[in-house]
Amino acid sequence: MDTLLQQLINGLTLGAVYALVALGYTMVYGIIGLINFAHGEVVMIGTMVAFTVIVSLASSGMSPLLILGVGLLVSVVVCMVLGWALERVAYRPLRHAPRLTPLITAIGMSIVLQNVAMIIWGRNYITFPPMINKQIYEIGGASFTNVQVAIVSLAALVMLGLIYLVHRTRIGMAMRATAQNPHVASLMGVDINRVIAMAFIIGSALGAVAGCMVGSYYEIAHYQMGFMLGLKAFTAAVLGGIGNLAGAMAGGLLLGLIEALGAGYIGDLTGDFLGSHYQDIFAFIVLIIVLMFRPSGLFGERTGDRA
């Protein structure tokens, strides 16, 4: 039983990270129906920037929490600028282009960002300096650390903040309106371009937060880390119903749990035929099954307004 509890904790932490990254995909997709494939790279840049700031401040004598805070802040700002630039330079000119064109642009941008990161931060794995003294707690035979607690609570906080932003603020209302009917929204006085740029900026800020979390949780960073993370998070977003905030969160958590429980139990259930070597496909199999019965994901609109 303690194993199950432990796996649930593992899955929850992983899922929280996935959910945050997935929100970045969903923010953008929800509004303009674009899969921003470069989002994983934005997360990577977020991690890298935070790393640089933290390392350069590490000897300044500031308190570790403050350093971490500054690192997070700087990385959020950098990613917001990056998100804005991506939209402005790469995607906006293609708003009326055939559907696959921005997809290829996104892939191109992701190659560019990876290689820029490689030039700046080098090819080697980078050790993310542990700023928080890791405490290990135990409950019922399962253990977790204060970093995990911080990650899950920060993720929850950010998600609550996002829900507040989208449902309670003026810009959030404009975003939802644009997502549902851009033409009418513009008639209400909403500047569509600004709203779309905002979606990119907010999504990238979330990516930066996720990047800092990944960095401080695994304490390792590499210029290629964004690809897999982005892919998983994208899967999570689709699982939940891409374009839907609650869906992205649920999809992320679910994916984290599927991976943990899948790796933990499927092997025993199938006589080790499907062991943890198939860990990476459990998510896809669940995704395919879900989509067969709910073609728009768990929380997606049944009749999508975008074909």
Partner: protein, 360 residues
């Protein structure tokens, strides 16, 4: 009038014999001209044709039928492994290529239908992620099917795969006949060109056929296509199956050419690259797709040769190491091409017009 509709190949043969003759000369000359710069260029040309194969296959699915497939590499893998398993010491089976290639194509077809059947009702982006997942599933199975029964030899891959051989004439060795010395890659070049011409003809004929019209109709307006009596599900599955079979053949040739396969050749990035060739070149337009395949295979290689001298010429020294810059330039090229030619480098005339109209 009828002639225009039928657009028959025979008409064009007659009208353009001079151009075709020129073309034949060029195609014949390529491996020898390329070899002047090194056999590596012949190999690059070979991979360019191989990718052209794959891109034309994917073009049927994405370009003709309008279905976004991000897992195309799965069919390539199926073809490659079919060849590898049936012509290597792994199982001790050594079938000739003319048995295995069609078999690989057929098997890839089956996989195409298997993938298509449950997913066809999904909308574009959902279909994309499911096909992506399918590609990963196939790759991961290839990577792990070494236990409990060793089928694929897992990540270690399969070695000593037989080259393509016709009688005693092996494509792997250098040999001389009629006074001309041909290296292995050069021989494969001619084989590939022959197959490529075949594939192009098949592509054109499919496009100009009842089936091709049905694909285009589905892409234009699925509801109207149904109302015209087209069984859209079957026709879409047919697109998947046809596209997959091209992938299967390409996989088989890849296996034979390399003599070694392992799952790392069939990563998601491969699918994305093939899709990029289709889109960058000009979706649905055969010359465009060919151009896309050749450019995206050739560009990184040309940059490999060119970026170092270029940097030296510009700055007098190496500022950034060439490998980082090479991929950076490649990525930028993708972005810039899409920015300034959103319908691709060489779109069909109708695509170009479509875009022009939707833009204003």
């Amino acid at each position: 009038m009828n002639g225009r509709i039928r657009s028959s190949v025979s008409v064009s043969w007659q009208r353009h014999w001079l151009g075709l003759l020129l073309l034949a000369v060029v195609l014949l000359a390529v491996p020898f001209v390329a070899a002047l710069g090194g056999q590596a260029w012949v190999r690059i040309a070979n991979f360019a044709i191989l990718y052209m194969f794959l891109a034309l296959g994917l073009n049927i699915v994405v370009g003709y039928a309008g279905l976004l497939d991000l897992g195309y590499v799965a069919f390539y893998a199926v073809g490659a492994y079919t060849y590898a398993l049936l012509a290597s010491p792994h199982f001790g089976i050594h079938l000739p290529f003319w048995v295995i290639l069609p078999l690989g194509a057929g098997l890839a077809c089956v996989f195409g239908v298997l993938l298509g059947a449950p997913t066809l009702k999904l909308r574009g982006d959902y279909l994309a992620i499911v096909t992506l997942g399918f590609g990963e599933i196939v790759r991961i199975f290839m990577n792990n099917l070494n236990a409990p029964i060793n089928v694929t030899n897992g990540a270690q891959g399969i070695t000593l795969i037989d080259p393509i051989r016709i009688g005693d004439f092996s494509f792997a060795q250098t040999s001389t006949f009629l006074g001309v010395t041909l290296s292995g890659p050069q021989k494969y070049y001619f084989l590939l060109v022959a197959l490529a011409l075949l594939v192009i003809v098949v592509n054109i004929r499919l496009q100009d056929s009842r089936i091709g019209r049905a694909w285009q109709a589905i892409r234009e307006d699925e509801v109207a296509a149904k109302a015209c009596g087209i069984n859209t599900r079957n026709i879409k599955l047919l697109a998947f199956a046809m596209g997959a079979s091209f992938g299967g053949i390409a996989g088989g040739i890849f296996s034979a050419m390399q003599g070694f396969v392992s799952p790392e050749s069939f990563s998601l990035m491969e699918s994305i690259t093939i899709l990029a060739m289709v889109v960058l070149g000009g979706m649905g337009h055969i010359p465009g797709v060919i151009l896309g395949a050749v450019l995206l295979t050739g560009l990184p290689e040309a940059l490999r040769y060119g970026i170092e001298p270029l940097q030296r010429a510009l700055f007098g020294r190496m500022i950034i190491d060439p490998e980082s810059l090479r991929m950076l330039v490649f990525g930028l090229a993708l972005v810039l091409v899409m920015r300034f030619r959103p319908a691709g480098l060489w779109p069909s005339s109708q695509r170009r017009r479509e875009l022009a109209e939707s833009a204003d």
